[in-house]
Amino acid sequence: MTTTEKIVGNTANFVDERLGAAKWVKKSLNKVFPDHWSFMFGEVCMYSFVILLLSGTFLTLWFDPSQKDVIYNGAYEPLKGLKMSAAYASTLNISFEVRGGLLMRQIHHWAANIFMAAIVAHLLRVFFTGAFRKPREFNWILGILLLTLGLVEGLFGYSLPDDLLSGTGLRITSAIIQAIPVVGTYVSFFLFGGAFPGTDFIPRIFTLHILLIPGIFLAVITIHVMLVWYQKHTQFPGVGRTETNVVGHPILPVYMAKAGGFFFVVFGITAFLGAVASINPIWLYGPYTPGQISAGSQPDWYMGWLDGLVRMAPPLETHAFGHTISWNILIPAVIVPGIIFTGMALYPFIESWITGDKREHHLLDRPRNVPNRTALGVMSVTFVMISLINGGNDIIATNFDLSINQIMWFSRIGIFILPPLAFIITKRLCLSLQRADRELLLHGAESGRLLRLPHGEFVEVHTPISPEKAFLLQSHEQLTPLEIEDVDARGVRRPGAIKNKIQRRLSKAHAVSVPKVTEQELKEIENH
């Protein structure tokens, strides 16, 4: 036995005698994770979270979460002698007097942006491949929760330095809270410790931002990842892959090396952005005062779509019986996002209700094979893109010589017209792709070579596709609409007639697809 083996052996013995861990560790080290680049978005999220924890802890060592007034006497000349909050002054201190401070601030903010971008990319991947289906619906809901928490955490994070841009964002936030009927003013006064902006808000969101919300994140991320561990990761269809197995590389050594390496890559790229790309230059924004504003004030991109919705809202308010209800704020900032996030969270159940499919699914869908779901996803992305564009309408107008009024009208009308249009186009595209797959399977790929037959006819030579590809092209299930009888064998009407009608209609729309190639057709082709 070598020395290393001896040491490892003794350690293992020590642990096993106390925890009985040998069986579990052996099982875990043999666990297999399928390999596809789109499966790495979730990893990017997780690693970005770790980077946020590390860089954030660094920042807390110098940040002063207080709104007390101080006179700035630090290194940055253009702000010398000005009155500002201690939070802002300490952020300037981190940026200019702590070595590596500005770098860490920037790494923290870039990591937050990448974290949210990866969450969105991960969500889209899971959605378009149908990985949210049974048994993973609960994990999907946890994911939506993480997305929502991320939005709030990011908002609080960039508001901590108390600069002009983020302070304006807080003003907007307080206006949204204030607009809530009946309780709005009370909730706003309680959260801010009085009238806006007060002196309590920054310290309070500091506690939320570094303690409570990260704590919730840790717990939810742990459950989220443990569920993936326990239920095993989904995989794309292919040769050797079935609903009852997982194919991939084992954890030790390949997956550990690749996943561990990827953590360092994510950290390295985030650090690179922090080094070369300026983000949130608070010294240029100036300290927050409600009497000032900058042209081109936007929140970070993951809140930008909400800002876009608020901008395009019609100027509706109800004034009645001495009270005011601001529909122009409630609809875009509370009601529409509420509907969207609730709809997203419940989608797995909505889809299983439409399809009537109650089975477990571990093989992923190719998006083209589920045209309805794919079209719905593209439609939602279109909606968010239009809101996002409108959120930056003044930046776009300044840089591309356009008019904000025109962009606003484009968004107001486009938000109703373009998503359904995107739905129709995407569904048609999916069906075309299915037809192309069918052609490929039956006739092979077009090789571009022409052949002249003895009797004079020109034909294009088709090369047959590989057996792996052929397997892939017919491995999906044929979508079938739900069969619900209105009346059963004894002539008794089924209760919930309208619900069933809707279900049947939706199910039929969902099942629109090109018929799969049958055994018969394949045989006929062979004999051709």
Partner: protein, 263 residues
């Protein structure tokens, strides 16, 4: 020549010839147009009202009227003072080249003497804001950049953006960038309120305060980007774009490389 003709069927011969032709035409044009411009300059040494009127009648009266009384497409210049002429013509905004949403800064058509002559002429029509003296523009000595920053954020940032990069107004109008503008012109703009910009009277923002604003603008302009490249000092919109395109893009690239088999 024989050496060169060996390559006439080379695959990059076409693109190279195209680039060469474009360069040739471009340089010829710019040389020729510069030559034309030379001959048009007036060799006036001192500005006089008469000279100013001459230039005005030739280049400005078609829109502003023969007596600068204004017309359907241009406002009256009576009472606008020498400062507004020095600003508008000195920054090249006037003569307005295309009648779109607003006059934009471009290469001035008239040289310094002509601008001075025009200014003297317009000033003679009625009293108005005067061009500030050199001695009154010593912002380094007389200005306070911290105070200037506060004034800027209070009065200017809402149109011109926190770093003076410019911003959108309604109906396609815009507040232009303040980068690369002469201190004299910044001062004159504050005093005369050109186009959509309001007037900032000397009683409400004193001349010393105006110098502080200029000092802050110049300091912001000279300040290097302290955290790295900024993509325009515009704010979170460009930052978000970079996070998606560069950040996520690079990561996807690495992920694809990571999951493909080595050959």
């Amino acid at each position: 020549m024989k050496r060169l003709s060996r390559y006439r069927r080379h695959k990059s011969a076409g693109p190279l010839l195209l680039i060469f032709a474009l360069l040739a035409i471009g340089t010829t044009f710019s040389v020729a147009s510069a030559a034309v411009k030379e001959s048009q300059s007036v060799s006036a040494r001192t500005a006089s009202i008469a000279e100013g009127q001459q230039i005005f009648l030739k280049g400005c009266s078609s829109c502003h009227g023969l007596n600068a009384e204004g017309g359907a497409v241009a406002p009256s210049l009576i009472g606008t003072g020498a400062a507004s002429v020095d600003f508008q013509v000195g920054t090249g905004r006037m003569p307005m080249a295309d009648m779109s949403t607003q006059a934009m800064r471009k290469a001035p058509v008239y040289n310094e003497e002509e601008v001075a002559a025009l200014a003297v002429y317009v000033a003679s029509l009625a009293p108005g804001p005067a061009i500030p003296e050199e001695s009154a523009l010593n912002y380094e000595r007389d200005g306070n950049s911290a105070q200037g920053g506060e004034l800027f954020r209070n009065n200017c940032a809402m149109c011109h953006n926190f770093a003076g990069q410019g911003g959108a107004l309604s109906q396609g109008k815009y507040a232009p960038t303040l980068m690369g503008v002469e201190p004299k012109h910044i001062y004159e703009a504050m005093v005369t309120g050109p186009q959509s910009m309001p007037v900032f009277s000397d009683k409400t923002i004193t001349p010393a305060e105006k110098l502080s604003v200029i000092k802050w603008i110049k300091a912001a302009e000279a300040e290097p980007n302290l955290g790295g490249a900024t993509m325009g000092r515009i704010g979170p919109v460009t930052e978000g774009l970079l996070a998606w395109v560069l950040g996520l893009g690079l990561l996807i690239g690495i992920a694809v490389w990571l999951t493909t088999r080595a050959r």
